[in-house]
């Protein structure tokens, strides 16, 4: 198990290095890192100073080495727009995003497993058909549109119907006013963003879990368990679900990148100052240091998450763990 994890860690290092190099290169191809000095007074000199400090006249490899050297010391540069330290900006943005990701994965995993198992053991029941139809719609719907429609119906129109002064579900930020921490206000603000973030994922994972569950429930070892006299509920959970979780972990790991993509949409729609919004503003403003840092931090996060999934996979499957 230890060598297995170590192997995965060692493999992810070059992946992160190559990915971050390509990202830095493409960002600097797309945007001019010294653009903000071109319009300022005494432009030429400032631009020259900026170019020299970033070593822009050297090869891209030198530039990358320079950037990497700073980055491993925690120095990600300063935003061109706000002049704030990029590391501070990213840390505060990451806190919001990690909340959304946490609740998103929790809700998606629980709901998908529940729906998938239900649909599999009640195959071709009305419930199964209903969830199948909903999954098809969930997969076919642009998530940003789902979010907008959800605000329209569940916040705006629901408020009119109930005649309350405040909407039941908030759609701006994660708290209203100066409220902080985990409270009812937080939950009410969390419902719609988490729904938007997870609708497509739940549709996909629950279908996957259903198929995986059908697969395991027709396996020979299920019949063996029943032949031993194991009660049905225990057969479903201890033998069926336990095995059906293994392939789901792989899918979850693959989808974490997509979940991060969903963050961009969700945070834009619900005005949450997380990583997604940071990316959008940085891209629109051509804020090179922020973009570079954002892309690399995200890549590392996704790689770490994949690593976690690999470990979980090893824990769930002795055939992986022991080989």
């Amino acid at each position: 198990m230890a060598t297995y994890i170590l192997r995965r860690v060692l493999y992810s290092i070059p992946v992160i290095l190559i990915a971050s190099f390509l990202l830095l290169w493409s960002v600097r191809q797309t945007f001019d890192p010294c653009a903000q000095f071109r319009t300022s007074q005494g432009g030429a000199a400032s631009v020259a100073r900026c170019r020299a400090s970033l070593q822009l006249d050297d090869s891209i490899f030198t530039q990358y080495g320079h950037w990497l050297g700073d980055a491993v010391q925690g120095n990600l540069g300063q935003s061109q727009q706000t002049n704030a330290e990029v590391s501070t900006t990213i840390t505060s943005a990451f806190w919001y995003t990690i909340q959304l990701i946490f609740w998103g994965i929790l809700v998606s995993a629980l709901l998908s497993i529940l729906l998938g198992v239900y649909s599999a053991i009640r195959q071709y029941s009305i419930g199964d058909y209903t969830f199948t139809a909903l999954a098809f719609i969930g997969l076919a719907m642009p998530p940003f549109w789902f979010g907008l429609i959800a605000i329209q119906f569940l916040s705006v129109e629901l408020k009119d119907v109930l005649g309350t002064s405040q909407p039941v579900f908030g759609f701006v930020g994660l708290h209203s006013g100066d409220s902080t921490g985990f409270n009812m206000d937080y939950v009410r603000h969390l419902v719609l963003p988490v729904m938007t973030l997870t609708v497509q994922i739940i549709a996909e994972w629950s279908r996957f879990q259903r198929a995986s569950m059908l697969d395991t429930m027709s396996a020979d070892y299920i019949r063996t368990a029943r032949a031993k006299g194991v009660p049905r509920r225990r057969v479903v959970v201890r033998h069926g679900l336990r095995n059906a979780l293994i392939p789901l972990v792989t899918v979850m790991a693959l989808d974490i990148g997509a979940l991060f993509g969903g963050i961009v949409i969700t945070e834009k729609i619900f005005s949450i100052p997380g990583m997604g919004r940071l990316f959008l503003t940085a891209l629109l403003q051509g804020d090179v240091p922020v973009l570079e840092a954002w892309l690399v931090v995200t890549a590392i996060f996704i790689v770490l998450f994949n690593l976690l999934a690999d470990v979980l996979y090893g824990v769930l499957d002795p055939r992986i763990r022991l080989s």
Binding site: D220, Y221, R223, A227, V230, R232, L316, L322
Partner: protein
């Protein structure tokens, strides 16, 4: 569905009466001379996209206490479906008629909860392909312990482990106290099959159904596994239903044989009667296709082969299902028009053939 007690008991003359005193504790409950398991006119059908599939058709046989019965047939002959029907393990789409009486109790009439108490406790099953039949994510010991624990919740963890080790030792797993914590994929094929047996006998069942327990194994390992089964039977006095496509496996182990073809029973009798005096051309064909050491082969003798393919259960041939492949069939005639019923040809020996007297020429005469 009521037990059909009026049908004549399917006894065989040469079987020694059951010695009740030597039976294990549980089996003394129904100690009368009635059979342990009595399958009466059992039929199983499935509705598929391509039509109704009659996987088992009017099968009737008995298994007595401490007896070993062989159920022989090709794949698709209905032998495995019959055994799953006994344990109530068929999918809900299966339509079951007839009766299965175990110790005077009609199994199809029982609820799922009541069946759970019988499965693994009174009737246990050994499946073929132990790699697929064992759960890959639990250690072998845990799986054996589960088999015990579901029927006796009072056993503590330590005892469960000890009993698992004992059982592994009993079926001949070397180094059982270490092997108990290993996973199925760490076992060899023969050891996995032994572990399956250990799991099946963990509650001293009165009836052990072994579904092709040796199919996936090497010949030498096959012999070892069969030997384990015999040893177990001597110890636990369990009755065994040995399901196989291999008459060679049956010969040395069982006392009586049921031969199945196309979901129907074609012959039933003691192992001696069936082997030395087959009364159904299918049995004869199976025997003739076995390489035999006890018969001198001159250069004119070749291994016999049953011509044609096993029948499709969806489009079963009319009349006798075997008639397209039968060397004696009268076609057109009775064989392709009427369905032969199982009839007594000698005491304790039955055959579903219109012309049992014709059978025998293949084995006797060299080609």
């Amino acid at each position: 569905m009521t037990p059909d007690r009026s049908s004549p008991p399917d006894d065989t003359a040469d079987l020694s009466p059951v010695d009740t005193a030597s039976l294990t504790l549980e089996s003394t409950i129904d100690s009368g001379n009635g059979p342990l398991l009595s399958v009466r006119d059992l039929s199983v059908s499935f509705q598929t996209d391509d039509g109704l599939v009659r996987a088992v058709d009017s099968v009737t046989f008995d298994v007595h206490e401490n007896e070993t019965v062989g159920i022989v047939g090709e794949s698709g002959s209905g032998k495995s479906v019959s055994s799953l029907a006994i344990l109530g393990l068929l999918p809900r789409s299966a339509k079951i008629t007839g009766d299965i009486v175990f110790r005077g109790q009609s199994l199809p009439a029982l609820s799922e909860k009541e069946m759970e108490k019988i499965r693994g406790k009174e009737i246990a099953m050994i499946f073929q392909d132990a790699l697929a039949a064992l759960n890959p994510v639990y250690s072998v010991g845990k799986q054996i312990a589960e088999a015990i624990a579901v029927h006796d919740r009072d056993v503590d963890k330590q005892t469960l482990r000890e009993r698992s080790i004992e059982l592994l030792d009993l079926v001949g797993i070397p180094n059982p106290s270490e092997r108990v914590d290993q996973y199925p994929h760490e076992y060899s094929g023969g050891m996995r099959q032994r572990a399956m047996i250990a799991m099946a006998i963990s509650n001293d069942p009165a009836l052990l159904i072994a579904d092709e327990p040796t199919t996936a194994l090497d010949v030498t390992i096959q012999a070892q596994v069969l030997e384990v089964l015999e040893r177990i039977q001597d110890r636990t006095r369990a009755a065994i239903m040995l399901i196989t496509h291999d008459l060679g496996v049956v010969a040395g182990v069982v006392e009586r044989v049921v031969v199945m073809y196309g979901g129907r029973q074609v012959e039933l009798g003691s192992v001696d009667d069936t082997f030395y005096d087959p009364k159904h051309p299918y049995t004869e064909g199976l025997l003739a296709s076995l390489p035999r050491l006890d018969r001198r082969s001159d250069k004119h003798t070749r291994l016999h082969r049953i011509v044609g393919q096993p029948p499709s259960l969806i489009h079963l041939p009319s009349g006798c299902a075997f008639h397209p492949r039968c060397p004696y069939a009268e076609v057109p005639g009775r064989c392709s028009e009427d369905r032969p019923e199982l009839a007594e040809v000698a005491p304790g020996h039955r055959s579903a053939c219109f012309f049992p007297e014709r059978v025998g020429s293949l084995v006797e005469e060299p080609a």
